[in-house]
């Protein structure tokens, strides 16, 4: 009754293993896509409650304000969602599930890269959902710009996700430490990115810090891309910032997972 399984020797192979890890990570997402929609609650609250405040403050119309605000909300989704994804790995380290994958003949790097790549799925789904929700309120996005924008967010998300996993590996079984570090990084990054309020009126030091904040450049690039201004220098800077973050994030993450095992 037992199928004869050939004894084989499987050597680690980065691309193949990354694919298998990615497929595994995507399974819960595909099985339960509504969980993605539920996690949109927070950005929707921002859109619904913060949006009107912005309208009142700027004195502009709703559509115009959304034009400015929606790209920032998209970045915010990535910042909060993907930024927290390391906690999943941390949880798997506390049970034996991560350990089990470490004994498998998988390339160590694939365990991180596959996970980071998986972040693209929720980013794209949630990004499209937010845009769809904003449409009835007069929001308009350039179709090609939106596509490019999602791609930019994907690159940014892979880097951020990798960093979040690296943080999980570094804080190991100290959940409080993970959240402590994560929260104390995410909020300054968010505020200094000009997602919620324009930074133009802020003090000089704030603008100086913001200018080296990659999130800020991604937000600016998103704003330009979604309005169809694809030739703006902000787009170039945004892509540079996101790519740099992805490269650094993956390098740090791969190093962390290699060291941890």
């Amino acid at each position: 009754m037992t199928t004869a399984v050939r004894t084989r020797v499987v050597r680690p192979h980065l691309a193949r293993d990354t694919w298998h890890v990615l497929v595994r990570e995507l399974k819960p997402v595909l099985r339960d896509p509504f969980s993605l929609i539920f996690s949109l609650l927070q950005p929707l609250v921002f859109l619904g409650l913060f949006g009107p405040l912005l309208v009142a403050q700027s004195g502009g119309d709703l559509a115009g304000t959304l034009q400015w605000f929606v790209p920032g909300v998209l970045v915010m989704i990535v910042l909060f969602g993907t930024g927290a994804t390391g906690s999943n790995l941390q949880y798997e380290m506390m049970t034996g599930s991560h350990e089990r994958t470490l004994v498998a003949p998988l390339s160590r790097s694939s365990l991180l890269v596959g996970r980071a790549l998986k972040e693209i799925a929720p980013i794209v789904v949630q990004g499209l959902a937010i845009v769809a929700i904003a449409l009835p309120f007069g929001y308009r996005a350039d179709a090609f710009g939106l596509l490019l924008g999602l791609a930019l967010l994907a690159v940014f998300g892979v880097g951020l996700g990798a960093l979040s996993y690296a943080l999980a590996l570094a804080t190991k079984e100290h959940e409080w430490l993970f959240w402590g570090v994560q929260q104390s990084l995410i909020f300054p990054l968010l505020i200094l990115s000009g997602v919620m309020l324009p930074l133009d009126g802020g003090p000089a030091w704030m603008r100086a810090v913001a200018s080296v904040n990659p999130v800020r450049h991604v937000v600016e690039a998103m704003r330009a891309q979604l309005t169809g201004d694809l030739g703006a220098t902000a787009v170039l800077w945004g892509w540079l910032a996101a790519t740099a973050l992805a490269v650094v994030g993956l390098a740090v993450g791969v190093r962390a997972i290699r060291r941890s095992s």
Binding site: D17, V23, R31, E99, P105
Partner: protein, 351 residues
């Protein structure tokens, strides 16, 4: 090293530093395991069983020492080791967000099984480890025993050459334990799999393992077949109850002459002692006692258990060693024979 040696370690040692205190988890583990052997690691909590397995499965590097598993060095070729082994850890192997069937399929893919092969293997393991009803549930929704069965299934998916199992049967009901063993034994019969497991279930080690290694405080303190360990270290526990208290001195001298051991007197009219192959000794002993007109009311010979072996080796029963704070200081002296252990001690540590 024998050419058929599958696991070979030399001076494998692992220290942990916890709050500036050095814990010697495993000290100088030097063992050779031959292909196809079924070895059980037995020992109380904190003995170093899991740490030993974690070193052999490349999860943690040793502080010093070397080992090869299935022909690959754990330090210089960990990937080679991983490609040939299976491992069921002490914790839960399934990711809580994943569904049971999905995890098995992913595991198959990780080990290079083709699409059809992994589907077949997954379905087969789901059926035989009785996971059919929960196959499409997420791991989070499983009971403790169901989780454990999934862990075992995950370790068996790729029919590994060497299988490491860290307390595989903990938390399983008798039926599931029987199924687990059926799987492990089938795998062995078909593939000549080497099985290296840790357990707290004495009768499991006794029944299935060809070789038992007893571990205590980081060291292997005995390594032999269960039968040899019991015969050499414990012996049968013999209890004689006499009709007449006054005949005790005579009876004692007969016992000392026939069995060459000194007997204790745990209760009035009662003599107790342990002797290798005591059951075979009993008829001779009774004849001799009869010859001296000693009237024996009851005579019992109880075969030893691995717990008796542990007691003989360490002066503690496994149950005492496992008890919180049970470091054994308050345990009976090391010379206490198996006659002073009753079967409750065994039951306590096997339930």
């Amino acid at each position: 090293m024998h050419h058929d040696t599958v696991i070979s370690s030399h001076g494998l040692t692992r220290r942990f530093t916890v709050k500036k205190q050095v814990v010697e988890a495993v000290t100088d583990l030097s063992i050779d395991v031959r292909r196809g052997e079924l070895v059980a690691f037995l020992g109380p909590n904190g003995a170093g069983k899991s740490t030993s397995l974690r070193m052999l499965t490349t999860l943690i590097p040793p502080t010093s020492g070397t080992a090869t598993v299935a022909g690959h060095d754990i330090l210089t070729d960990p990937a080679g080791v991983r490609s040939r082994i299976g491992y069921v850890g002490q914790g839960s192997s399934g990711s809580f967000a994943q569904r049971v069937r999905d995890e098995l399929l992913s595991q198959g893919a990780f080990y290079g099984l083709g699409r059809r092969e992994r589907t077949e293997r997954t379905d087969e393991l789901i059926a035989s480890l009785d996971l059919t009803d929960v196959a499409s549930r997420s791991v989070q929704q499983l009971s403790g025993g169901q989780k454990r069965r999934l862990d075992v299934a995950l370790g068996l998916v790729h029919a590994p050459e060497v299988l490491f199992l860290d307390e595989p049967s903990t938390g399983l009901d008798p039926q599931s334990r029987a199924n687990l063993w059926e799987h492990v034994l089938t795998l062995r019969a078909q593939h000549g799999t080497t099985v290296f497991l840790t357990t707290h279930y004495l009768e499991e080690a006794d029944r299935y393992a060809e070789r038992v290694m007893v571990m205590d405080s980081g060291r292997v303190i005995a390594d032999d077949t269960a039968a040899a360990l019991k015969a050499d270290l414990a012996g049968d526990a013999i209890t004689l109850v006499l009709d007449d208290e006054t005949q005790l001195p005579v009876a004692r001298s007969v016992v000392e002459r026939v069995a060459a051991v000194s007997a204790e007197q745990p209760e009035p009219r009662t003599l107790a002692f342990a002797a290798p192959s005591g059951s075979a000794l009993l008829p001779t002993l009774l004849r001799e006692l009869d010859h001296h007109d000693v009237r024996v009311a009851t005579a019992t010979a109880v075969p030893p258990t691995l717990d008796d072996v542990f007691l003989a080796l360490t002066g503690r029963t496994l149950r005492e060693a496992d008890a919180p704070g049970g470091t054994g200081e308050d345990a009976p002296a090391g010379t206490a024979g198996p006659a002073t252990t009753d079967t409750r001690a065994l039951e306590g540590s096997t339930r």
